[in-house]
Amino acid sequence: MSNKQHTYDAIVIGSGISGGWAAKEFTEKGLKTLVLERGRDVKHLIDYPTTNKYPYEFEHRGELTLAIRKENPVVSKCYAFREDAMHFFVKDKEHPYVQEKPFDWIRGYQVGGKSLLWARQTQRWSDLDFEGPLRDDFAVDWPIRYKDLAAWYTYVEQFAGISGNKDGLPQLPDGDFLPAFPLNAVEDYFKKTVSEKYEGRHVISARCAHLSQPRQVHFDQGRGKCQNRNLCQRGCPFGGYFSSNASTLPWAAKTGNLTLKPFSVVESIIYDEKLGKASGVRVVDANTKEVTEYFAKVIFVNAAAINTNLILLNSTSSRFPDGLGNDSGVLGKYVAFHNYSARISAEYEGLKEFTTDGRNPSDGGYIPRFRNLLKQETDFKRGYAAGFSAYRAPERDMSGIGTDLKEQLLHKNLGPWQVGSHMMGETIPKESNYVKLDKDKKDEWGIPLLRISIDYDENDAKMKKDYLEQLTGMFTEAGFKNIKANDAGQAPGLDIHEMGGARMGHDPKTSVLNKWNQLHDCKNVFVTDGACMTSTSTQNPSLTYMALTARAVDYAVRSMKKGEL
């Protein structure tokens, strides 16, 4: 085939949450767009093999076999890697990496990526986040502020469909929401207790990417109302939650401008020394290993944070011997994540006149960050958000056998409310938390293995201690009993919120991307997935990736029209 047949207007590497958005935006604006996905195709509705299965239709009722657990010590730790969804996760053996320090790297290599598997929590950032590094003296200053992103948040919320309340909180700006999933009796009770006894602390309905009440734009995508199945990780036959598969990719395909190529492993981005910009990408066929080059005027790298770093680091040329756009030397460094390593549970004896019926896909309540919010007030930097949820289950005395036991198993007498919370801590990006290429080891596709060296620090330990103390205090105030603080001690990575490595910043000497997510030193390459993040905030990051992507495509297309790219 000639180069002409391999030439597009835009190339997007990756088809997950941010890649799907890049595809939608480019194709809607009329650009012939190639989306490269290293995994297999997963077509909405067609490729969700377990979606309508009952628990008893799984050979092991959902459980992992010993053989699978032994073969996959890393991914087996992920809560969603179970019999019903394990086909959407990368198996450890298939894609090895080097852990200089323990790091549970959870990946989904297929069309749609982890957008099929995410926990769907979607909160905006505020200037308390964007101004964080500058105020608290870490990382580098974000080159953008909330006002740069506000309209783009609205834009992506409207299309994706985000449920939530307008809570009027400075740390969690309101958006254009579908109705929130309501808190239950005990979540509401805790909300009331917290707002009465703690100034500046709030419990709100978790904001999530579920269609609680679809609008026309969602029906136009072929999606329908969320049916409260809470089986999202299998792929949703109703399109009830946002995924690339259900939303952005079919939308992009409808324009006629999308070419989607699964099984396409991007080895590197090709830099044209004469033109002084990138000309295309080099792709290894995942199955045949055949190498093909594709060309475009603009390239978006949306391979998921750590793999985006890998591709850039592996894209070397005489102009960029240490990786594309890495004049600063910071590429691969200042990687951070969210600290999810603590949780707390308890019981509540009150409100026994209520229980829940049906299922709440939003996960219940959300406690926005309250520590160090407006000024520094603790001995650690930044703070944490937290989940909060309550439920009741039948109280079954299973000590007997025979008819007694059987009666216990079948009765519906409910026990007390069970309550729980988990921590979502901001971590501080540091030069010493990095990913880099292994000098010798390569994978099956001839690409260097990644070495990951990421760890908690003292700030994380202090913050975790504070979370456990504060939540214990709040639970005690609410009259919860049998409070159990659990310092889970999990390795970084299992939060699946890895960020950074190609951070945004004002200064090309200390950052990789400018305020438009454009490589400072190679203007037609953009990074709008987690790799671009200068700091991590406490909010779940995906909504911000969506907004950054839509904004960056808009800028890229405007620049192209002006002949600037």
Partner: protein
């Protein structure tokens, strides 16, 4: 259930393996395919009896009706390591030859974790009981008839009223 298993079970109920026609090979073997475990037909039958004592048939189906002992074997085969499997088999051996009141007696003692009981027996029993319960609660029968599990709830009420006792 395949035809061979069906015939075999009829024969077992009819009075024992001696009646098996010669066309049925492996007559001494367990009726489901297992990768690691070596279980005899007699052990399988014993496990069925034990499961039935844990969850008996009443006016609703019990362990035998639901084949829960086969689920226990499947889980034991696929989800436990060799040492645990061996402990299970060794524990099971203590029950071999027992029936009726004697079988129930040892089972009751195992359930009470009676002092002086061999370690293998409690290890066997803990897996046997928890997996029988799991198989029961996750069976099609229970999930469709007794404790209904909904694939598509389509609703959420956080203030669902319940009678307080």
């Amino acid at each position: 259930m395949n035809r061979r298993l069906a015939i075999k079970q009829v024969l077992i109920f009819a009075g024992g393996l001696a009646l098996l026609p010669s066309c049925l090979r492996n007559e001494g073997k367990v009726s489901i395919q297992l990768q690691h475990l070596d279980i005899s037909a007699a052990q399988e039958k014993l496990l069925a009896e034990i499961a039935e004592l844990i969850i008996p048939k009443t006016n609703t189906s019990g362990a035998k009706d639901l084949g829960l002992h086969l689920f226990v074997l499947k889980m034991l085969d696929d989800c436990y390591d060799k040492a645990e499997q061996e402990q299970f088999i060794n524990g099971l051996k203590a029950f071999e030859g027992l029936e009726g009141a004697e079988l129930k007696q040892l089972l009751t003692e195992a359930n009470a974790n009676k002092a002086g009981l061999a370690k293998e027996i409690s290890q066997f029993f803990s897996i046997m009981k928890s997996r029988t319960i799991g198989g029961y609660l996750n069976s099609k029968y229970v999930m469709s008839n007794l404790v209904i599990w909904e694939l598509v709830p389509g609703r959420y009420n956080g203030y669902f009223p319940v009678k307080t006792a």
